[in-house]
Amino acid sequence: MASKFTRSNRTGFLMAGPAVFLIGCFVILPFLFAIAFSFTNQRLMSPNPTEWVGLSNYEALLGLGTLTLEPEKDATGAVVMEDGEPKFPATRSFTRGNPDYPQLAGMREWFSFDHGGSRTFVLARDVVFMTAVVNTFLFVIIVAPVQAGIALGLALLINQRLRGINVFRAIYFMPVVVSIVVVSLLWRLIYDGQSGLLNNLLSAVSFGMIPQIDWLGNPDTALGAIIGMSIWQAVGFHMVIWLSGLQTISPTLYEAAAIEGASKTQVFRYITWPGLRNTAVLILIVITMQAFGLFAQIDVMTNGGPLDSTQTIVFQAVERGYVKKDISGGSAISVVLFVIVLSISLIQRWLTREKS
């Protein structure tokens, strides 16, 4: 005879079944495949058999090296100057076919810093990926607090009993409903360097003082432009979550506060914010994870350019795995991303844990 546990759970398993099956097929299985592929030389299409290659995909992705060089000196021993700066030998002569530096072969300069007259070059085997990692972190670090903050502000604004408040709720939520691809296409027009809406607007309010900026074509502004539109696009979604959090706070607390004569800041500080604690944790984790997955905007608007200023981890994973048909390389990037997001989520969980 079946125990009560299995009997009452049978229905549960049955109900969860379809979802578990689909998630297993389309999330868990591909995930396991990705881990396995990252240790092979699997291609998207190739007549060659797949081979186990150990960690070489990760080495090619994450390999770093340093090279410290003294400035070039002329015959008299004086430092050679070029454009007002000391001239250093080209790193190219160390990283290409130099038998004295076999460990640097195939590396490229990522960045460099000066100290005491000499200059240390940090070389990476895959500079594009490193740039993508830095860009993605920059994106997350800016988007997570700013988007959460604006969303909270909007939620507080629309959490009022006013005539027609639903119109505002709908307006703020609208960008979330529209496909990100469509939104990206529209923003590409808005950011257009010559006749874009943003440029026209800026030039109108500044009476032509602000010059035309090619927002997506300039390495200095491209990532910022994408950050701006990304925040705008998803802010409505997080606003709704904040709103649901706000509405779980008991009105009696606010009534009590009103009777006690608390100021608006005090009400927020001592009632609203503590009541939103769990919501805040959720929103922070959700935004962080979504921000790490930045892809569609890049794919539609910039393709990672100009000069790699908008490369991101997921864009690189797709670019390699699918466009360049290197499934193993793309898988390795996905695994690295997984490890990054997992560690950050764990850290966030630990930082926001209930302290007893």
């Binding site: 291609r43 060659n48 190219r92 360097g193 090619d214 393709n303 350019g305 000069l307 360049k324 048909k325």
Partner: protein
């Protein structure tokens, strides 16, 4: 009685063989959404199906942007059609990956086809095109006269100095927003198709074609560095835009924004409509000859086709001059044979676009014929875009070489 029996069995036999006879061949084509193109291809299929009883071709059209992905997915799922069309430079990859099989077409039938229309990999003909495409330096006769330039010819194209002189004069004239419209707005295959011939004209290449095993020396040698510096100069000196508004690409030349436009024969009719003195100049010779890209979409047979002879028969049927002429009349492409060109007003001797046939025949250079091209094209595109945006030339080309070489190595030499 005996006769009766014989007749009956003959009837049954013939019925059975008839049922067996008409085999359906499936075909995929990249031109969905283009009405004229669909009409022509449907006409060929209808004619072919009516011309014999062995085969019946059924067409399925895809939008061009999704076509390659569909073929890839179809191949992975073991679901390819009998006949497919393929963009010329992608063919070696598909043949190598085992998507395609050699055509069974009489070589004599395609003897007079333009070289760029023949897809040859590993010594065998895998695909054949009904048309080719070509690029020319589009400008106006009045512009050349105004700037006091020599009119270049196929035999004596502009040298690099003459070309740069033309750009400098056009810029100095101040009449145009930019001297040169390169079409940088068209990301994707346009970059290797339109810009790698410049590199080849300098004497470099995307990959060393003697072995196809390395790009070292070809893409970062002296010629390639000279190309890179020249390329970067075009943007640094303000002759062309590194990032271009797609609308300017489509209508900028006609609107008088550019003095010269580096554009294909498909855009030629629009240019002719805009100005009455449009001329199509040959590509400048940077030192190693005047070069333009060759090879457009071509037809081939999938490896999994059960009836390759039927698929080949259809392709052979489509190679008739009248269909070549139809495509050319319909969508402005260069007919693959001189005889078909004579049937097209634009391309016949003395026609407004006849020079394109000449350029295609004389300067047309196929992109590297290697399965690795699909990756090399992407690497070249990024390098060209980065250099245009101001990246260090030598470092960028080195990185491109490393990436191409790593890919070749990972694919065990791509079967060369």
């Amino acid at each position: 009685m005996k006769v009766w029996k014989f007749a009956a069995s003959a009837a049954i036999l013939s019925w059975a063989s008839m049922a067996q006879a008409t085999e359906t061949l499936t075909m995929w084509y990249h031109g969905a959404g283009n009405e004229v193109e669909s009409k022509i291809i449907n006409q060929i299929i209808t004619d072919f199906n009516a011309s014999q009883t062995d085969w019946k071709v059924e067409l399925q059209s895809f939008p061009q942007a999704a076509y390659n992905d569909s073929v890839q997915a179809g191949a992975l799922a073991g679901n390819l059609p009998d006949i497919l069309d393929v963009d010329g430079p992608n063919m070696p990859n598909w043949a190598w990956a085992g998507y395609m099989q050699p055509l069974q077409i009489d070589e004599a039938k395609i003897a007079n086809f333009l070289p760029g229309t023949k897809g040859i990999w590993d010594g065998k003909l895998y695909s054949i095109g009904l048309w080719d495409a070509a690029i020319a330096l589009t400008t106006r006769k009045s512009t050349i006269e105004e700037l006091g330039l020599r009119m270049p010819t196929t035999d004596a194209p502009w040298t690099k100095d003459e070309f740069m002189d033309a750009l400098a004069k056009a810029k100095a004239a101040g009449k145009w927003e930019f001297a040169l419209d390169l079409g940088t707005a068209w990301t994707g295959e346009w970059y290797p198709y339109a810009f790698s011939p410049f590199l080849q004209s300098f004497g470099g290449d995307i990959v060393d074609r003697s072995t196809y095993q390395t790009a070292e020396g070809a893409l970062n040698g002296e010629a390639a560095l000279a190309f890179g510096n020249w390329w970067q100069g075009l943007f640094k000196d303000g002759y062309a835009q590194a990032t271009q508004d797609p609308a300017d690409r489509d209508s900028g030349f006609a609107a008088g924004k550019y003095a010269f436009s580096w554009n294909g024969n498909w855009a030629a009719l629009g240019a002719l409509k805009a100005f009455d003195d449009v001329v199509f100049l040959p590509a400048p010779d940077m030192g190693a000859g005047s070069k333009i890209g060759a090879a457009s979409w071509q037809f081939g047979v999938s490896a999994t086709s059960k009836h390759p002879e039927g698929a080949s028969a259809f392709i052979e049927f489509a190679l008739q001059d009248k269909y070549l002429a139809d495509f050319s009349n319909g969508i402005g492409l260069i007919p693959a044979t001189p005889t078909a060109a004579e049937m097209v007003d634009n391309y016949k001797a003395g026609g407004p676009l006849a020079v394109f046939v000449e350029y295609s025949a004389k300067s047309g250079t196929v992109r590297p014929v290697t399965p690795g091209y699909v990756v090399q094209a992407k690497v070249f595109e990024k390098a060209a875009a980065d250099i245009a945006n101001g990246a260090d030339v030598a470092a960028t080309l080195d990185a491109a070489v490393d990436e191409i070489n790593a890919d070749i190595e990972k694919n065990k030499g791509y079967g060369h």
